[in-house]
């Protein structure tokens, strides 16, 4: 008797599992990274459900697992996500391998014009091949890498005096990487309010894209280029140019001199933790987090200030941000498109910015009062005018992982020299492009 009951229970569980796979028809699922803006989007999307009756589900995965998890999902032809806010580098693969729906026809039909969005974001988040009017996403979230600093410490008289005595200039927002390092060195190991503080929290994460995003924030200002001529895949002398080597060496010296202890596998969240717990005077992080920092109950308000990624030989910032795409494998593409249509409206975009998302819409960014709406708004516009992105090739993941390994081996593990790391990187990338038939 008991065995029978057990069989029934287990069988029932099995059936429940099978049927559970089919979600309700009037609901769609949006996939994105788990971070502040995503939570703001949940809040924003309540309006969408209220006006259309279409329920919204969300799947959020932290950045360190984001690409890994959702590229796997796309490659397996899964139906989990109807909408995907995929990273800018995915657009090549999304278009080439057929993961994303091309949106041109839909845009024309609904009167959505890409001219209404910031050109840099349209180029980076929506087009493939790059710069052609073939759209696979709607710019959803503008982003670039910037810096946060402890404004309260920077304005303390005793610290300002000590800094001036040491470096002969005022303690303030650094205007280039050299000054950034000096400032970080100044704070490294310093006692403030009875606790030891450190210079700067920078990206060093190994697993996904962390250290590459951090290193490129230094490489781009030094003048690093991926190719000698765009589209040539000719990397010798560009990737490993003298300036590139110098930039990479500088990033390592910054890691060695001025990062907090144990900061060897840190990406966005670890930098936030280090910053919010008062360990560091500065952190590099995406603009996406700045609204949350400004609203934080500890480091919010006047405690924190923001600045654009410093220049060196040129002014440049690492691009972040994503477009929103309709997944080709979805059974509910019509509902997903409905969401895009709703999301592209200027008033929704305005509320998106107000809740903590970075709208790419001209009606928001072009508003004369925009720069005054937040302490980091003006910096955001400045950063977006000088953004550079990693390879957006369909095989970008492979290229990224090679860079992660070579750069982490050099910067964090201290293996070899910067020159060797970049030379090896060219070797890795050459093999990848050969396999892909580009070379």
């Amino acid at each position: 008797m008991r065995a029978k009951k057990l069989t029934a229970v287990a069988g029932g569980a099995f059936l429940a599992a099978m049927s559970g796979a089919q979600a309700q028809d009037s609901e769609i699922t949006l996939c994105w990274a788990a971070w502040d803006p995503a939570n703001a989007l949940v809040e924003l999307s309540k309006d969408f459900t209220a006006s259309t009756g279409i329920g919204m589900n969300f799947e959020f995965v932290p950045w360190t697992n984001f690409a890994d998890r959702f590229l796997n999902e796309l490659n397996s032809g899964g139906k989990l996500c109807d909408l995907m806010i995929g990273d800018s580098q995915w657009i090549g693969g999304g278009a080439t391998y057929g993961h994303y729906v091309q949106l041109n026809e839909f845009f024309d039909q609904e009167g959505i014009s890409m001219d209404d969005f910031l050109p840099a974001t349209v180029y980076a988040y929506s087009t493939w091949p790059k710069g052609t009017p073939n759209y696979y996403a709607l710019p959803a979230m503008g982003d670039a890498l910037g810096w946060v600093y402890r404004k309260d410490w920077f304005s303390r008289p005793e610290l300002r005096e000590a800094f001036k005595a040491e470096y002969g200039r005022d303690l303030g927002v650094p205007s280039n990487w050299q000054e950034l390092k000096e400032t970080a060195t100044f704070f490294q190991g310093r006692e403030i309010d009875g606790e030891t503080r450190y210079g700067a929290a920078i990206y060093t994460e190994r697993g996904s894209e962390g250290i590459t995003m951090g290193v490129t924030a230094a490489l781009y200002p030094w003048g690093f280029k991926y190719e000698n001529a765009p589209g040539s895949y000719d990397m010798e002398g560009a990737v490993n140019s003298a300036a590139s080597v110098e930039g990479l060496e500088f990033y390592k010296s910054l890691y060695d001199c001025c990062s907090p202890p144990g900061h060897s596998d840190a990406y966005m969240v670890a930098n936030l933790d280090a910053y919010k717990s008062g360990q560091v005077a500065m952190q590099m992080n995406w603009f996406a987090f700045f609204p949350g920092i400004a609203k934080d109950e500890v480091v919010g308000g006047d405690v924190s200030g923001f600045f654009v990624n410093p220049g060196q030989n040129i002014e440049a910032s690492t691009l972040g941000g994503q477009g929103i795409s309709v997944v080709a494998y979805s059974d509910k593409k019509d509902l997903a498109l409905e969401y895009l249509k709703w999301f592209a409206q200027p008033d929704v975009q305005a509320k998106w910015w107000a809740l903590g998302g970075y709208s790419c819409h001209q009606s928001v960014l072009g508003d004369p009062g925009f720069a005054e709406t937040a302490p980091f708004a003006a910096d955001f516009l400045k950063a977006m005018s000088g953004v550079q992105d990693f390879w957006q090739e369909p095989i970008y993941a492979e290229l990224l992982l090679a860079m992660q390994q070579r750069v982490h081996d050099y910067v964090v593990a201290g293996k070899g020299t910067a020159q060797e790391a970049l030379d090896k990187l060219i070797e890795d990338w050459t093999i990848s492009f050969e396999d892909d038939g580009k070379l």
Binding site: A3, L6, T7, V9, A10, G11, A13, F14, A16, A17, M18, G20, A21, A23, T29, C31, A34, D36, N39, A40, V42, E43, F58, E59, F60, V61, P62, T64, N65, R69, F70, N72, E73, N75, S76, G77, G78, K79, L80, C81, V269, A270, L272, D273, K276, S277, F289, G292, I293, K295, D296, E297, G300, L355, G356
Partner: protein, 315 residues
Amino acid sequence: MSASAQKPGQATPLGKFLAGSAVVLYALVAMIPLIWILATGFKSPPDSISYPPKVFFEPTLEGYVNLFTTRSRQTPEYIESLGPPKSWYEELVRKRNMVISGPSRFADRYWNSIVIGFGSTFLAVFLGTLAAYGFSRFRVPLKDDLLFFILSTRMMPPVAVAIPIFLMFRQLGLSDTAAGMILLYTAVNLSLSVWLLKGFVDEIPREYEEAAVVDGYSRLQAFWKVVLPQMRAGIAATAIFCLIFAWNEYAFALLLTSGTAQTAPPFIPIIIGEGGLDWPAVAAGTTLFLLPVVVFTVLLRNQLLRGITFGAVRK
């Protein structure tokens, strides 16, 4: 085990005391991480990242609330505009300038773990019982080879197995489905269940079946009415081992599921809070996830040896 396991020269009371103290010391040190998990679940996020680590702290349920909700950080004015909090947990969250925007995925993932765990355990034990009986009682050609083949399926690294399975599931539409995961875990658990259960069947004297046959039972009836009831304890132990394996499994779940059928192990590491890795929430999830296994381990302690060696060592 015999009570007279004392060896000459080892039985002095002082020797016993010293041995006992050393073992207890080891056990206590080994327990620190687990106690730390339990404690961190009841810390507030700031307490969890304080330096030096806090041993004494004011317990709070924030970690558990964060585990089951997603929250969004908003300005005090925005929060004000929402009206007073409707529950104690909303109040708790608002203290940190946050509003609850919905439930988290933890409960779904936990439920997936239960469904996939029990589903695969049932199938693995069902098929395993039949196969074990078959191997134990019948002349099967190439028996030893087949048994070894069943065992060798465990020698492949899971990541290696996952490559073709990924392609297969994609072709069959089984990616990210509970059915696919149940099938896969069943296959992986079969090696354990066949070997363990065969050991249990071997221990049941054949005379019982012979007697039943003399009484007019058919072979199948003898299996059903005589052998099966005697295997009950063995089946229960095997089932728990299969369940624990499926419950703890990570690599396949990581590589072959993404949401719909994702279990808790790949999910718990990626529980993050608003703006920081939320260790109290991770600890809360870890506690809820580990607790059943700790209970089962205590229940199973006398069968443990047999289970972890695939039945090769029996007490």
